[in-house]
């Protein structure tokens, strides 16, 4: 039996460390080798999708090895329908992110690919860990490579952005560490069994009250900062604007999902009473984020910043969906996590492509690009439409399900959230119009190159997936239905049992 999940998780990081021994000058080797590693990782993750049985409740591809028996921490990994999609999203986006850096990042390229590959292992580890100790190790460890990606290869204000990113996330996660310890000892005191095992702890029915509320808040703060849920989002625009394109893609595509994933995996099953009690607060913050993010996006002069703020809005939808705690809402939230990874990832890639050509991201510096770079403009349109939720493309599926779920909770909630869809159309289409349509306003834009082969190769897979999920979402939703049903049932059962 091949430990497939471990292989997928650790292959990139191990290869990243190995690449450090390649001579610095062999840029070609580094490019091809790093790309090959991520592609192989993606290919290895495909059997996870194919072999995943959507009928089974619980975890699949599990591996459970002794690690620290006296502490109760084990090397326990496995995936369910939720983590399956996020693992695939990660392995799918990494080759694209790395390929987008070819020729763009020239300074210390070797260290760059190594850092990105180690980062991939960190992120995959977060999604597959079924042991809280192991999870925390990955959760904290992946901060450092991301810190380097922003701080070493980022824009002019990169150091500020990198330090802000680390400190913000760290404050949240150290409090989560205390909550993890408190949960561990509470469970140990109650059952005489000290363990960090997630499936075991998820069975534990904790008495509602202050203790559960504080633990929930500590976990939720760590995840809310990562998501980022309004008002913990202020690190995000800085980090996105300063990060190199590849970093932004990973940051938006995968890293933010670690926060929403944390809510699904830990907050809901561990602290069901608190999750229900604080639900309305999360709805309020999510809807505020949806509208606020959209409004702030509308007035951004910088395209990258616009996309960054649109993430706040989109992730607000995801949070709203998760905390509706009904089948449609949670499914929508999960699908929207994937959608956001694809469409925002693609937006960052394409903004990066423009930036490489013109060394500007200001909307005012562009106009009339349709005539100069028609292929780019066409793909950009698809991505923009996907991001604003046009029916037939992926974004619509997720947002629709979330709104259906929210409507069951409160029509007013759904109405407010829907306004976010409209605002998204405003800021995205307005940006598209100013950049792509109209007359060519700047001479420098007349000689822009259209997409290169490499850029086609990066964009086509994303656009294909965008259309595929839009037309046939069942391919992905089908894998998650049982998991989400079981999750919601568990939350309801535990919440009523503890009362």
């Amino acid at each position: 039996m091949i430990p497939l999940l471990s292989l997928v998780t650790f292959l990139p990081g191990a290869a990243g460390l190995a690449l450090l021994f390649v001579p610095r000058r062999s840029v070609g080797v580094l490019r091809v080798a790093s790309l090959a590693v991520t592609v192989v990782t993606f290919v290895l993750s495909l059997p996870l999708y194919v072999g995943f049985d959507p009928e089974i409740i619980g975890y699949q591809f599990e591996e459970n090895r002794r690690w620290m028996p006296t502490l109760g921490a084990a090397y326990h990994v496995g995936i369910d329908g939720i983590s399956l999609l996020l693992v695939l999203l990660t392995t799918f986006l990494m080759p694209l992110a790395l390929a987008s850096a070819w020729g763009v990042i020239e300074d210390r390229f070797k260290e760059f690919v190594a850092t990105m590959l180690i980062l991939e292992t960190g992120m995959l580890g977060v999604f597959v860990s079924l042991d809280l100790f192991l999870f925390y190790v990955f959760w904290e460890a992946m901060l450092i490579p991301m810190y380097f990606v922003i701080g070493v290869w980022g824009g002019p204000n990169r150091i500020y952005a990198a330090v802000k990113f680390v400190l913000y996330t760290m404050v949240g996660s150290v409090l989560m560490l205390i909550a993890i310890l408190a949960l561990y000892y509470q469970y140990g005191a109650a059952t005489e069994r000290y363990t960090f095992d997630v499936p075991v702890l998820a069975q534990y029915v904790m008495a509602p009250g202050l203790g559960q509320d504080l633990m929930f808040l500590a976990f939720a703060l760590a995840f809310a900062i990562k998501v980022p849920l309004f008002p913990f989002h202020t690190w995000l625009p800085d980090a996105h604007v300063e990060a190199p394109t590849a970093g932004s893609v990973v940051l938006a595509g995968v890293l933010l999902k670690m926060g929403t994933y944390g809510f699904l995996r830990f907050c809901l099953p561990f602290f069901p009473d608190a999750s229900l009690a604080f639900g309305p607060l999360v709805w309020a913050l999510a809807v505020t984020g949806i509208i606020y993010g959209a409004w702030v996006s509308t007035v951004q002069p910088d395209m990258k910043k616009l996309v960054a703020y649109s993430s706040v809005s989109h992730l607000g939808f995801v949070m709203l969906g998760i905390f509706t705690l009904n089948q449609q809402g949670v499914t929508g939230g999960l699908i929207q996590m994937v959608n956001h990874g694809l469409s925002t990832g693609a937006l960052f890639l394409m903004v990066g492509m423009i930036y490489e050509r013109r060394h500007s991201r200001l909307i005012a510096d562009f106009g009339g690009l349709w005539r100069v770079v028609p292929a780019f403009s066409a793909l950009f349109l698809v991505v923009v439409l996907s991001s604003l939720g046009l029916p037939g493309l992926n974004g619509f599926v997720g947002e629709f399900l979330i709104l259906v779920g929210a409507f069951q909770r409160s029509p007013w909630l759904a109405a407010l959230a829907t306004s976010g869809v409209i605002f998204a159309a405003v800021y995205l289409l307005w940006m598209y119009q100013r950049v792509i349509f109209g007359d060519i306003t700047h001479e420098a834009n007349r000689r822009l190159r259209d997409l290169t082969t490499r850029e086609w190769a990066v964009l086509v897979p994303v656009v294909t997936l965008i259309v595929w999920i839009g037309v046939y979402p069942a391919a992905f939703i089908g894998k998650t239905e049982t998991t989400i049903e079981a999750l919601i049932a568990q939350v309801q059962a535990k919440a009523s049992a503890s009362r």
Binding site: W67, M68, P69, T70, L71, R108, E111, Y136, V137, E140, A141, L143, I144, Y147, F148, G151, V152, R158, I159, A162, V163, V166, L167, M170, V171, V174, L175, L177, I178, L181, A182, Y184, Y185
Partner: protein, 484 residues
Amino acid sequence: MDAIVFPAVVLGPLLPTLIVLAAGALVLALDLGPRFLPRELPAVTALGGMIGALLATLARWGTPGRAFRDMVVLDSYALFFNVIICYSGALIVLLSMDYLRRTGSDSAEYYALVLFATAGMMLLAAAGDLVVVFLALELMSLSLYVLAGLFKRELASGEAAMKYFLLGAFASSFLLYGIALIYGAAGTTNLDRIATAMAARPRDPLFVIGLGLMLVGFGFKISSVPFHMWVPDVYQGAPTSVTALIATGSKAGAFAALIRVLAVTLRGVPPDWTALLWAVAVVTMTVGNLVAIAQSNLKRMLAYSSIAHVGYMLVGLVAGGTGGTGAVLFYLLTYTFTTAGAFGVITLCERARVEAVEVGDYAGLARRHPVLAAALGIFLLSLIGIPPLAGFVGKFYVFGAAVRAGYVWLAVIGVLNSAVAAYYYLRVVVFMYMREPEGAATAYAPSFAGSLALTIALLAIVLLGVMPAPFVDLAQAAVAPLLR
């Protein structure tokens, strides 16, 4: 009048200490020998002494012994500390070899003094009697005072030695007075007999005041706030290799004695002291971290950060029990390797023929010396407590013990402190990786021994980070008999 009975001389429990002392004497004797002896001989002898003591320690594992009417207790607790101290001593000898030659201070006395200081630390860990505690503490301290002033021509080094000596002597007198009062109250200086004598009247004012005065003395040696004033100047002024010894070995030795005194003598006493230790822990880590933020000198920054780490260790002491106290031992183990490594990198960096100690000197280090920068980066990440490095596990157990013992808010203050600490540690990383050097670049002063020391430290912190469980179990097993 009773005849004076001399106890049987059993040297076994003293063996590790004796090996180190013998090596020290040998180093001094060799210095008088003919000139054709190789220059490295003192250093190699010192290293041999450390390794010998380590092997003797490992050989005695599991066979606790007592000697000289329980004045020396070589139990698994002392053995655990011996391992920390021997590693610390050996790393410092390795780091010193080329560092001293470069700075023109190579001498046999240096290694002899390092050995004597190490012997003092090991004796501290094995002290079962307050008189031995004092003797060992003085043996360690006096050697370190001289070592701190090794750079005779540098004003800062002289200042460091002077300050360390004056304040250290002051602290020693507090300790001694405390010992005298406890003797007055209990009628004995033996720790076990003090515990028996005081169990019935734990609130005897003489005893309480005496213990308080001893805590002042120990507070100075472990550098907890408010007895930390000497730390930044001494760490900055002393030769960096000596700073590493003061920061690791001497701290371990002082903690060893402090924990033993507290654990044994207060065995039957209600935990009145916890409230005091709680406050000291909070103030120590907060002051250490906040002041460290403002430092631009790397040695000074590490000095304040070491104060903060003492605060974390005190958290473990507050939590108490096998869990908490064992966590402190494990923390000291990880801290020793990490701190020795961080100071070790400094000994290998020079700028314009002068030691590179300003944070700015490290600008762009990653570009010219990627391995050295990566090493310092990993040591700093471990000090922050980033998994999977040793520093994380150390913090995990310390704060875990605090949560378990019900000191959740103390743990919260602790982890928030470590988030603050991330700022100043990462600042060094920012300089190394994200800035370009200004003016003369910092160069690597090649040293095989130094690189060997760094490699050992790196391997240790990765091993302790990934596979901590066996070592934590050993640490907890080591403290369990004390707490019975």
